[in-house]
Amino acid sequence: MWGGVRGGGGLAVRLLGARSKQEFFSTSSVLSKDKEKSAASKESSPEGAAKKQEDGAGTPKQQLLDIIGDMKVEVSYRKKLQQLKTSENKKQAMNQLEGLDSEGSVPQGITEDTQRGKPLSPELVKAASAVASSLPRNKKKTESELLAQLRRHEETTDKQKKGGIINIRNVISEMTIKRQSPAQRGARMSGRISLQLDEDGQRLRREGSSALSVDSRRSLKVGKRLNIFTKASTEPEHALKTVSSPTIWDLEFAKEVAAVTAQPPRNGFEEMIQWTKEGILWEFPIDNEVGMEDDAEFHEHIFLEKHLEGFPKEGPVRHFMELVICGLSKNPYLSVKQKVEHIEWFQKYFEEKKELLQEI
């Protein structure tokens, strides 16, 4: 149960899906290594290099070893932790870089692209340059603008990916079972049953009076009551209950009562139920909805064609956008809203360049 690595292959599906095929089937850890490498390659500025040496994980040999180590089925945790830590460091470094970059919001051109170009797939670059080449002027600028947007997008993905891990952790840690207090439960139970019993009680009383004529005193249903208490409305009691926090007495009593029916599991499934309640086991049924935001459903994440209506029906732009949504559909780290915004950005972009496009 310690070995439950969540994420696994599911996370392998990355932005814009244009990564090569073998990566589809590789494990996430390898991929994240990959990303680390790319992050490292980004840091060719002196600042980044210094950082890299500090990290000590940057030597190629080390990286190779790490990758090989992670390719085993069982991911060792120490390594995983280390990796997480280093990647977090890297992220910080990257953010610093980003901070430097952010002044010039206009991308600086293809030179930078080769520096940082690794995360974008050649195919995408090709598609982007195709779009750019269809424009008469400023081809290079257009291409780099497109690519920069894609890259920015990927950075968000990375950030949210890390955020996602933390989020999931939070979700699981909050998974502790909320127990209904026995008193509440009892109150509810009695409320539910009382009506039904009244009828039965009457029936029994008739039976009792006929059968037990000799010792009618000794029957559950016949006889007087104590007449000490009067039935009160339960509202004031409820008000009191909600105000005071549980004392040690309440807690211990609840434990004692829970212990009454807490029997050892009778079969493997019951044991799994127990583990699920304790939060040790992954929840059944295993579906594709774990960790998803509440508002979106999975088809909204995946079927993004409907957002392409504003684009031309054919041509290089269309081809480019199809690639974009294909990648987006495989990206589990962006929210639906972000995906739509991403598409809208392109729409606006191409809208602005419409005249240029039509000049051809």
Binding site: R218, L281, P285
Partner: protein, 678 residues
């Protein structure tokens, strides 16, 4: 673990799902990108052209699947309980083992928890992803430093009794006033633990105490035992001037909560009259007690007054006070009343029904504990009660499903079965069992209570049922559901005897060996006497002789420091008879020799059987030796001698040897020793 791994793939699967349903035109351009992912599904896409209704998101109960699966699994009558299946070597064979192993397993868990709790510094890595909180150590060291009310509150929350008291004293010395609320929660803590530290060992003991089986508890003993459980096992007894009392005294102002905490603590730790005095103080201060305090006081009633009527009057007083103070009673209030009525003799019998009626009038459903108390009020220690009450109770219980609401709920089924046993009413017992099997009711029986319950039920079955039915139950229950006690085996033997089915005995003996009862003298005696009592067909006799041989082995030194059982005269005689009937003269003679060794005297029946055997198998020498032996033990050997002369074909030397045995039954000791020498 597998579950987790599978969970990882969820997104990919979602994609796959999506891809299969895409309109065909799309595939061509996508497949160029990720043809591997698409694989064979490309062809299908042509077929599914129609409108696809995408499912709305569905929230699943995380346990539903497992619960459904679990409900498909039945008990395996040939296997031990699931908790013992990790290690076949540790399959329990009897109730003692079962208890020992289950406690060991639990204590192993506790030991692990203890280590994690006490050495959290070694468990600071979050290995699991996502984290599993229940496997990680809790923070038990206070985070707040210094002396302040905040720090005091934290220590109270962490249940550090001694630190809290010290902190409180320091605060007082420093002249910092502690708020009433904090002081009250400190009082709660002190009263709950009765002045001692909460320690894992004590909790362990407590648990063990709770699980202690009531196997031999007679009716009179049972309530007393329960009282001990309630008061003593849960911690130290209330001491004069302990911290709680001291702090209570120096409190500048006290509210109802302070008084209530004190009263509850005093009742919990056995200071009943003090609790009552405290209650009087509370009344004098014009405070109102809460319902829990009244419950505690009502439970204390039997220890406050001696006479039954006085006890009931006091309990009634408390109830009236509750009504006056407008405190609404709960189920636990009435359960406390009923529990106290258990110790009110005949008064209890009249009043308990009134109490139940009162509950009904207030719309409070009785829990199993209420019925448990009612049953023991009516049936404990009283003979010849009618079965009206219990059958009414059972009818009520049958109609409802129960959740645990009172710690005493657990003992209902055992009590009910005990009553059925006392009434010797098998139909009621079946009804109890039916109720037990309904829904989740089985959960009310822990391992020990389960054993207790079934062993009672089984004894009753042996007593009242047809032997076929008994054997069916026996086969189904024994060692998968419960472990028969030696008493159950005796009952079974008697049932077999009554039904004239003694040929089953060898298989029962096998079970007895399995259960590790083969060294119980009373059981062995019963086995031997039943087997040797009548003559059976030769096949059965052979099987019996085999059993006898095994029983004999138990009495012989087996090595490894195991002390062999002492032979008794009757056991020895039975074994001789069994061997003789099976025609094993040599074995029988060896057993005869034991009589002399242990200075026991064989009965006439034994000697006759031996002679018969010697005659049938033609061992006149052994017969003569036997006569000699009888003579040497000072028995009247004349009759045997006559028999020998009549029935055996003896050679001359044998005749001579026979003649030389002093035949006189009343010959003196010296004579018989003479004959020994010959």
């Amino acid at each position: 673990m597998a579950a987790r791994r599978a969970g990882a793939g969820c997104w990919q699967r979602a994609l796959w799902l999506g891809r299969c349903r895409l309109p065909g035109g799309w595939e061509s351009c996508r497949s160029s990108l990720s043809s591997t992912a698409l694989g064979k599904t490309v062809d299908n896409s042509q077929v599914t052209q129609e409108e696809i209704v995408l499912p709305r998101r569905k929230t699943w109960d995380k346990l539903a699947v497992l619960q459904t699966l679990a409900s498909t699994v039945n008990r395996d009558p040939t296997a031990a309980h699931y908790m013992f299946q990790d290690d076949p070597f540790l399959m329990p064979r009897n109730a003692v083992n079962c208890r020992l192993y289950s406690l060991s397993k639990e204590s192993g868990r506790n030991a692990a928890k203890y280590i994690i709790k006490n050495f959290p510094q070694y468990f600071d890595k979050t290995f699991a992803e996502p984290n599993i909180p229940c496997l990680m150590p809790e923070t038990l060291t206070p985070q707040t430093e210094g002396v302040s009310e905040e720090a005091l509150r934290e220590r109270i929350h962490l249940r550090m009794v001694k630190e809290s008291v010290d902190m409180f004293d320091q605060l007082l010395q420093a002249g910092t006033p502690v708020s009433l609320e904090t002081t009250n929660s400190l009082l709660d803590l002190l009263c709950f633990y009765g002045g001692g530290e909460p320690s894992p060992e004590k909790e362990q003991e407590e648990k063990e105490g709770l699980e202690e089986p009531e196997v031999n508890a007679s009716e009179q003993k049972a309530p007393k035992r329960q009282f001990q459980r309630g008061s003593q096992s849960s911690g130290p007894r209330w001491r004069e001037n302990n911290h709680a009392e001291r702090i209570f005294k120096i409190m500048p102002e006290r509210n109802a909560h302070s008084y209530c905490a004190m009263i509850r603590g005093m009742v919990k730790h056995g200071a009943y009259s003090k609790a009552y005095d405290m209650y009087i103080d509370l009344l004098n201060e014009r405070h109102k007690a809460d319902v829990h305090t009244f419950n505690a006081l009502i439970r204390a009633v039997p220890y406050l007054k001696e006479r039954f009527a006085e006890r009931w009057e006091l309990a009634k007083d408390f109830l009236t006070h509750m009504a006056q103070q407008k405190v609404q009673p709960t189920l636990l209030t009435f359960n406390s009343v009923l529990k106290s009525l258990r110790r009110c003799g005949g008064v209890g019998r009249t009043m308990s029904l009134l109490v139940l009626k009162e509950m009904e009038a207030l719309n409070i459903e009785p829990s199993l504990a209420s019925y448990d108390h009612l049953l023991s009020v009516y049936y404990k220690g009283v003979d010849g009660q009618s079965s009206d009450i219990i059958s009414e109770v059972l009818n009520e219980v049958e109609k409802r499903s129960f959740t645990a609401q009172d710690p005493d709920d657990a003992s209902f089924f055992t009590t009910a079965m005990q009553v059925c046993c006392d009434l010797k009413d098998i139909n009621l017992a079946y009804q109890v069992n039916k109720v037990l099997e309904k829904g989740d009711n089985w959960k009310f029986l822990d391992v020990d209570r389960l054993n207790n319950y079934w062993s009672k039920f089984f004894s009753l079955l042996c007593m009242m049922e047809q032997i076929e039915v008994v054997l069916k139950w026996y086969k189904e229950m024994s060692s998968s559901l419960f472990y028969p006690t030696p008493k159950n085996i005796l009952d079974l033997l008697q049932a077999l005897d009554a039904a004239n089915q003694l040929e089953v005995i060898p298989s029962v003996w096998e079970d007895v060996k399995q259960m590790g009862f083969s060294r119980r003298q009373d059981l062995l005696e019963e086995f031997l006497s039943l087997m040797s009592r009548d003559q059976h067909p030769s096949e059965i006799q052979l099987a019996f002789a085999k059993c006898a041989e095994e029983i004999k082995a138990v009495h012989e030194p087996a090595g490894q420091g195991q002390v062999p059982l002492e032979w008794t005269g009757s056991a020895l005689g039975h074994v001789v008879v069994l061997f003789s009937r099976a025609g094993r003269t040599q074995d029988a003679w060896k057993m005869m020799e034991f009589f002399q060794k242990i200075n026991r005297i064989p009965t006439d029946k034994v000697m006759d059987e031996f002679l018969n055997c010697a005659k049938q198998t033609n061992y006149p020498d052994e017969a003569i030796k036997m006569v000699k032996l009888a003579a040497s033990l000072g028995l009247s050997s004349q009759r045997l001698k006559n028999r020998m002369e009549e029935e055996f074909e003896l050679s001359e030397t044998q005749k001579k040897a026979l003649e030389s045995i002093k035949c006189d039954g009343d010959s003196s000791d010296s004579d018989s020793s003479d004959s020994d020498r010959e």
